[in-house]
């Protein structure tokens, strides 16, 4: 199905036209967005191509700033012309090149497209200028789909706007928050467009299905990414020799190096999640994430966090020496000891074969000890990474400000089963770095459990 459709995005200045396009095309770098009026002063095109060959071409237009003056300049609708003819006649005048140069761009774009998305800041009071705006846009002879932005704001006047639009026969309306889109809002937007453009119904429905498929695919990929990171963290293991254990300074250095390795792996997962959801790593706002700077370490290995996680695990103080003795922050979150490692290995031995068990027994006999991450750390990492995945998924590409992980935090109790699926990795240090059919099987099992954890924000 190779079809092309052109859609103009129009509206009053600063209503969020460019923001809407950023979110629809997942292009954080598209256009320029600011709270200053008149940031977009040219018509810019950006495409959304579905996997079935439908190409939607969006035209981002400057804002209409003086609709009252413009309606006056358009002059009265003479009996011998249609509304679009009046627009064309106006575009040929000098005013269209001078005083109303920007508005003329919007009107020219409108005459070229199949339909228009009319972006409305629903927080604005319904004033005469907006009535003029609706009148002008509705008279261009193109289907217009009003898109109500900022409807979740406390000051939203959605009902008033709905009534005004209905008065101009614009009954089909879409609620869309460019900063924090509702679940499925994109697909709904294309479905509504399909109703306005009966002749182009098939391609528009295809696009609606396409964006839904893409959303599902990103969700799956995100969960796989989290699964990989968790498996690698669970598999992380380092053996300390007897001499290393005896020397306090060397032991401390080894613990620190191990923790740094764990953090780097988790940070990599964060970077990859940002890539996956098309948020640039350099985004100043995203850099505010506690995860990308030094606070990450404090978060993942914070004794308080771990104690909390341990309590939720139902093991309380027994979770490990590091957490039990909050004063010893040096070993918080790390499980050190032949016995602990042996226990985990025996647990995994039944399903994973006895090779690793023999190695551990040998370690124990020779006074070596094994360093790995405690369950509480894995639990915290699982919660944070999944939360980030959900937060980025729900975040519009026009959003400014920091990512709110708190709103997307999964209750730790719900991650218990995930933790269970991570245990086999403890017996396979090689899984931290490389793939194998056994790791694949463990990953499948882990994924099955991760897929059952829903985004806490979605109903």
């Amino acid at each position: 199905m190779a079809e092309r459709l052109a859609l103009a995005v129009v509206g009053h200045t600063n209503a969020g036209k460019t923001s809407l396009l950023r979110t629809l095309t997942r292009r954080r770098d598209f256009g320029e967005v600011s709270s200053q009026p008149g940031t977009t002063r040219h018509v810019e095109a950006v495409e959304l191509a579905s996997d079935e060959g439908v190409r939607l071409r969006f035209l981002d237009t400057p804002g209409l700033e003086d609709p009252i003056g413009l309606l006056h300049a358009l002059g009265p609708l003479r009996a011998d012309m249609t509304p679009p003819q009046r627009i064309r006649a106006f575009l040929a005048t000098r005013a269209a090149d001078e005083a109303f140069e920007q508005e003329a761009k919007v009107l020219r774009a409108l005459l070229e497209v199949d339909a228009a998305l009319f972006v409305i800041d629903a927080r604005e009071p319904v004033l005469a200028k907006f009535r003029c705006e609706v009148e002008i846009l509705a008279s261009c002879g193109r289907p217009v789909l009003p898109v109500l932005n900022f409807v979740r704001d406390a000051g939203s006047r959605e009902a008033e706007w709905g009534a005004l639009l209905a008065d101009f026969a614009l009954h089909a309306q879409v609620r869309f928050d460019a900063v924090a889109p509702f679940d499925g809002a994109e697909a709904q937007l294309y479905d509504s467009l399909a109703l306005l453009l009966p002749a182009r119904q098939a391609p528009l429905r295809a696009v609606a299905a396409f964006v839904e498929r893409e959303r599902a695919a990103r969700d799956e990929a995100g969960r796989r990414l989290v699964a990989d990171a968790l498996l690698a963290l669970a598999a992380l293991r380092r053996t300390l020799e007897r001499e290393e254990l005896a020397d306090a300074a060397r032991k401390a250095a080894a613990l620190e190096a191990f923790r740094a390795e764990a953090l780097e792996r988790a940070r990599r997962a964060v970077r990859e999640l940002l890539d996956l959801h098309a948020f640039a790593r350099s985004d100043a706002e995203l850099a505010m994430l506690p995860w990308l700077d030094g606070r990450w370490a404090a978060d993942l290995f914070h004794p308080e966090t771990l104690r909390d996680a341990g309590a939720r695990l139902g093991k309380g103080a027994a979770i490990g020496a590091g957490v039990g003795l909050a004063v010893d922050a040096a070993t918080a979150g790390l499980s050190l000891g032949a016995a602990a490692a042996l226990g985990a290995t025996i647990g995994g031995a039944i399903s994973q074969g006895f090779g690793p068990l023999g190695r551990r027994v040998a370690d124990a006999l020779q006074g070596r000890e094994s360093l790995s991450l405690e369950d509480s750390v894995l639990l915290v990492a699982a919660q944070r990474l999944l939360g980030l995945h959900f937060a980025l998924q729900a975040r519009g590409h026009a959003a400014e400000g920091r990512v709110e992980l708190e709103r997307n935090a999964v209750a730790m109790e719900r991650l218990q089963s995930v933790l269970g699926a991570l245990q086999p990795a403890r017996a396979h240090p090689e899984w931290a770095a490389e793939d194998s059919p056994r790791r694949e099987a463990a990953r499948r099992e882990l994924l099955a459990r991760l897929r059952q954890v829903d985004n806490p924000r979605s109903p």
């Binding site: 950006v46 191509a49 099987a441």
Partner: protein, 447 residues
Amino acid sequence: MSSRTDGIALPDLLLTEAVKDLEADTPLRDDAALAQALAAGDERQTRIVQRARRLAADTGLDRDLARLRDRLLLLGLALAALGIVLALLVAMALLGQGRHINAVAAIALLIAPNLAGIVAWALLTVLGARSQGGAFGRAVAALARHRRAPAHVRRVWPSAARVLDAQHLTAWALGGLNHLLWALVYAAAALIVGVVLALNQYRLGWETTILAPQTLHDAAQAIAWLPEHLGLPAQVPEQLDDPDASRLLGRWLIASTLAYGSLPRTLLALLCGAVLMRAHRGTLDLDEPYYRRLIARFEALAPTRVLDAEHAAPAPAHAAAAGGGEPGTLVLIGFELPQELALPSALLDRAAWSERVDGGLEEREALLRRIADHPPARLLLACHAPSTPDRGTLRFIEAARAGSIALLLLPAPDAAQLARWRDWLAACGRGDITVHADAGVVLSPHG
């Protein structure tokens, strides 16, 4: 993107997966590869494969793959040699010791393990179709990952094994090789037996202690059924003491070796080949995070185009007629305020007159006329703080004739709103207009 392709050729699939493995820890520098991939077309898989091809060429991965292919060819030759050795062993088993051959026992020795092997393979293929590869494939993959394996094998083989596994082809590929080997073994064995029997005199027959000789004769006859239908000479003599008996049984032995040894193995090898050929195109698992991230990057690179460029800065508005006005008078205009927002009563008391304007054209012009008729010394425009200032507001300000104009933002603005209105006025060349955040300031003597 544009219509989906039928799939990706197996070598490309393998190369792409190998590049994926190579990038597992640290992504490669791929600016040139990305550009090349973008130019290759709209289809996602095509782009990903194109990028991988370029990166494979840059990193020598394609040479590794070629080397691996050469090695596999050598391995094939070695297997053929092994086949000949095995054939000799089979021939020796058939011919037995001495000049006396028990033909029925010989053929049973030949058919039984072969048929058992075929049944075992079939069971493994059917049962193992769901699991990921057989134990043998797993063992080879584990060996290839071993530290001591040559670098080119380590870089390519794990991904090759994974691709075959994902396509459920491992059993067919290994089976094909296996059948080819045994087809060769039995053909060579038949040849060797033929040569030996042609140039030596053997006595062929059958012997039994507890069975009736007729039973063995019937068995031989039953075995002859298949080769005879295939047109091979496999006639069983009626009496073992016929002068032709050994000659006939010799031919029967060779024909049976071909019919029950070579033939089924050849047919099965062809079947495996056909399955491999049919499935020689596969698809990438685009739900894998690695590929999803690549897709996100490709999409971010799609060009945007400026169509209707900005060709003139907005015309500077004509300067307002400043100065003058009736001394001491203050006029308060509620400009485009929401209805529920009341004007501050203190200001209303102080103002000579006040009016609210929703912004309709007639209403607006009547108001401007009223101001022009009696220009006040101070015109205070109360605007909606959260709303975005626009050119309509500016045109009104420019058209209003008053001694001085100031803005008051209602309700009390936050710092960002205040800054936005001030920046906007400055950008419009009207930095001279004061923006008040607080009605009290307007009333103070310095306001």
